[in-house]
Symmetry: C2
Subunit: 110 residues, 2 copies
DNA sequence: AGTATTTGACGTATATTTACATCAAATTAA
DNA sequence: TTAATTTGATGTAAATATACGTCAAATACT
């Protein structure tokens, strides 16, 4: 991008775009689903579930953690990952509010 | 990515990820909002609205067109862009169904 | 104590995204 | 007809994303 211009946009739009970006890869969507299905969510089990290497999965986990959608709890050598339900709710609201902003009942194309 | 692995994931997840990716940049979110506000949506006006060059904006428009969220109608030299309200509705449904798949009422972290 | 397991940090290679400049084609205006 | 406008295609440079291997540290097992 030579020179990032993201800071020139409205802060809410930037934050929304970051959330969408976190969801912009099938591996990360699958990870979220897996965590939702699996309350006992050991890190290695996640990479076993996906057609990707462990280090790659770890990278995706890091991105999900960055936006707060998941948390990692260290238990000895192992790390238990899990969804942050509050953040998921927040995500839901952010998306809804954006969609509302582009949803005009009487919109018509010329 | 050396070797893309996206085709190894569930098709619906891949499609959802593509939708989220189209929304993963503040410029594209702003474009969608602008089109929603502006029924007479001349191409050049869009780039005037954004802190980006015309060619850059054109590239973002192309991506939005690729996933079908907007349409371009050629009128002489000019092109009128507008939202595709049906696609926006579809987007809304896809997102809702994904969010539902990770939303467990009794989810609890260990 | 010594070995095995699990993880995250780091580095690396390739692909893609972002931002733009330049150009040619098409159309409109003078 | 000539000049100006508008657009999309093409090319390019830098940044970021994706996928993975290797490694060291920490913990668990024998």
């Amino acid at each position: 991008m030579v020179q990032s211009k993201t800071e020139l946009f409205d802060k809410k739009l930037v934050k929304d775009a970051e959330l969408f970006k976190a969801l912009a890869h099938p591996a990360r969507l699958r990870i979220l689903q897996f965590l939702a299905e699996t309350p006992a969510c050991i890190t290695g089990d996640i990479s076993d579930e996906l057609p990707l290497g462990r280090t790659t999965v770890n990278q995706h986990l890091k991105e999900l953690k960055k936006v707060g959608l998941i948390q990692g709890h260290i238990l000895g050598v192992k790390t238990n990952y899990c969804l942050d339900p509050a953040k998921v709710k927040e995500l839901e609201k952010s998306i809804a509010s954006f969609l509302e902003s582009i949803n005009f009942e009487n919109y018509k194309c010329i």
